[in-house]
Symmetry: C2
Subunit: 447 residues, 2 copies
């Protein structure tokens, strides 16, 4: 079967081809329907939902984006939605309900069965970006005193209700997580062996209030296919599966890329104009303030510039290059800080390397710039001054590119977001000050 297109889906919906739709979902996948349905209008979407079986609708819902999920749920009556929930994982239900309008949310929770209601309420309790917020309650936990054979019987019984089959969690009589076992062990070990004798102790775990990024780091570091979420008493509350961990990593990646460029992670190409203005303008205004700071620095030297007008054309080379070398240092720091903490003490060698780099890269760029400027303006001393200023400002770039992210992280801020503002302020203000200050000092020889 070929990949579904919008036109085909429209035809299927108009002609009420329920069977064709079902075949596609079973034989190819549900996610294509989820994605393409974003381009359907409300009437078409409503008709699509009517054509889908509860089970297929559950799959389409699980694969849909947050916004589309809410749109789909809004076009299905609550009674039917409850039926659909029967085919969905609890964590997905909680995510969906969490995004709904409060009225529909309350109505749905009240219509659920007591057991489900409890689980959903617990899942809704944790923030969306915490370990508890992304965990699922569909996991296998077995008592350590069971035998491998007994465990296998239990696994067969709940296999269809669990998200991860390969990893089995082992608890003691107080329901505390004491170990993990791979399904492999169940398939290859003698049936009467006690689980406590084959399990791996000291399992890696997170607490529900831990940040989802922390959970992602552990899964990535230990190559897990799920990580258990455990409360303060050591009882297992749920697990986070690796597909959700991948979503976390991709999400954090997108956030960092956007925030480094001064954009909120909520924005994308389809964000409305009004929303984009609201999201971007504050960042621009902060930058405007720093631009004025740099401008005032230049203003302080207007007397000098009016006598040597060549300064105004060359000063931006010094500030621009300081900014560029600083952002190189900053990138390395932001990357490193996303992986672990940096103490200045441990990395003092790296810090001094950045200063040395500033001097050497500054000297190379400074010589080239100095020679060209001296030739263009037929002014040897202007060349010398720009050479010195280039070295000075590249050192400024290295120092601030290193320190700003470290200090921001220490203060609890995200280094990816705010670093570039402070760095640019430093390399602009200090760059102008060093270059124009030197020019003022050596004004007699420049004239």
């Amino acid at each position: 079967m070929d990949k579904m297109t919008l036109a085909e889906l429209r035809r299927i919906v108009e002609d009420s081809e329920a069977a064709e739709l079902h075949d596609y979902i079973v034989e190819v996948n549900a996610i294509d329907i989820s994605v393409i349905s974003e381009d359907l209008d409300d009437r078409e979407l409503w008709k699509l939902c009517q054509l889908l079986t509860d089970e297929d609708l559950a799959m389409v819902l699980e694969q849909a984006s947050d916004e589309q999920r809410v749109r789909i749920a809004a076009s299905v009556p609550n009674d039917e939605l409850i039926e659909v929930f029967g085919y969905m994982q609890k964590d997905d239900i909680a995510d969906l309900i969490g995004d709904m309008k409060i009225v529909q949310r309350k109505a749905l929770i009240n219509q659920m069965m007591e057991d489900d209601r409890k689980i959903i309420r617990t899942l809704l309790k944790y923030p969306e970006d915490s370990a508890g917020g992304i965990m699922t309650t569909a996991y296998i936990a077995l008592d350590e005193d069971l035998s491998v054979g007994q465990g296998m019987t239990r696994i067969r019984q709940i296999a269809n209700k669990t998200e991860v089959l390969e990893t089995v969690y082992i608890v003691n009589h107080s329901q505390e997580l004491v170990g993990v076992a791979n399904l492999r062990t169940f398939l290859t070990t003698k049936k009467d062996t006690k689980l406590k004798d084959v399990m791996k102790i000291n399992p890696v775990y997170v607490h529900p209030e831990d940040d989802q990024e922390y959970a992602a780091k552990l899964v990535s570091k230990y190559d897990l296919n799920a990580i258990p979420v455990v409360n303060n008493r050591g009882s297992i509350l749920g697990i986070i599966t690796v597909d959700d961990i991948i979503d976390v990593i991709v999400e954090e990646y997108n956030e960092d890329i956007l925030e480094l460029g001064g954009v909120s992670s909520e924005e994308n190409l389809n964000t409305s104009l009004g929303e984009s203005i609201k999201l971007r303008l504050p960042w621009l205004l902060v930058n405007l303030a720093t631009a004025f700071l740099a401008s005032l620095t230049v203003k302080a030297f207007e007397g000098t510039i009016s006598q040597v007008v060549a300064l105004s054309a060359t000063m931006t080379i010094v500030t621009g290059m300081g900014g560029n070398s600083g952002s190189q240092t900053q990138s390395i720091l932001v990357r490193q800080l996303s992986q672990d903490d940096i103490s200045l003490k441990k990395y003092s060698k790296a810090f001094f390397k950045e200063i040395l780099l500033g001097i050497i890269n500054g000297a190379v760029n400074g010589v080239i710039t100095g020679v060209i400027v001296a030739l263009i303006y037929k002014n040897f001393y202007l060349g010398v001054i720009i050479f010195i200023a280039m070295i000075g400002n590249m050192v400024v770039g290295g120092v601030f590119g290193f320190l700003v992210p470290v200090v921001l992280k220490r203060l609890g801020a995200d280094p990816a977001v705010a670093s570039s503002i402070f760095l640019t302020t430093a390399t602009d203000v200090l760059g102008f000050f060093i270059f124009l200050g030197l020019a003022q000092l050596f004004l007699p020889v420049l004239l």
Copy 2:
């Protein structure tokens, strides 16, 4: 057991506490040893390897970074290394061997058994960052004509040799991949059911020469725990497991963050000074060339600046703000392009939104800047000119922030790497040109 520290590992090595080391690896994990061993000197590392059993050494090797793997392998005799390989996955062996010096590599391959040699040679054939380069040959493939019961027997036999247990690949009599089945199905379906009747057809797959990023996208999109690698004849060659996919995503993330800042992905805090210069200087020199372009633009207006020296202090506000608004647009485009292709036609609405945004954000920032500048310099017309120039340059930022990444991607370049150079050149050169050009035009009223 507490987390291992460097001091403890040193003590264990000095006192030859092999049992303690083994217990830690079995009960806690091997990765801590892999990481901490990076800080051991060569003699200590050699002693550590001697203390480890072959199986434990295999685990430490599998968890170690690329560089540390090679260091460890170099401190173990080839004969023993062959024994250690017996406990390692073939893809990890191929990775390790691929990083070794050619002499040791050849010697090792020659010492292997015929079967292993063949597999390793095949794995070494594909580039490191291709699907073939990261696949493993330890997977389960069953004939579609087997029954569920027969399949289960086979799974039990090879369970210990496979990396992924949960997903079973189904092939036809010509060894072509025709479907996948979840282990769940084997545990919950009647034993005499034929596999071809329970498998899911149309499995998602990649070719060995596909980029590893493409494989990562598919795994992330379809929530897989492994993806099969298939040759042109449709035969399965291996699978890529989700833990390796996570490594790919994290690696690509780090590359993008660094390249956006003008740093090679090969660099980190521990890179030597000489290496850092080699990696960073070329980027700085390219930037220097663009800085000169901007400088020459200013030089063309030196006559005007010498008459209205206030221009030199205010012109950098216009170029800086154009750059900032452009980098906002650029970030959104780079993010979007990392997920799918953008045709200008499909996104013409988004493109015009960026132009509108430039006008509106430019107007807001322009009014503020214009008023302040007019007041500081007591010059109404200077305020008006900077207002117009701000709008103009923010539109330049939006247009180039949008087009540069799209065009670079179309040309086959990585938008994350080179976009900012072209963007800055545009907002600097055109920003100076618009602002100083307007000033020259209205010179009489400015004086």
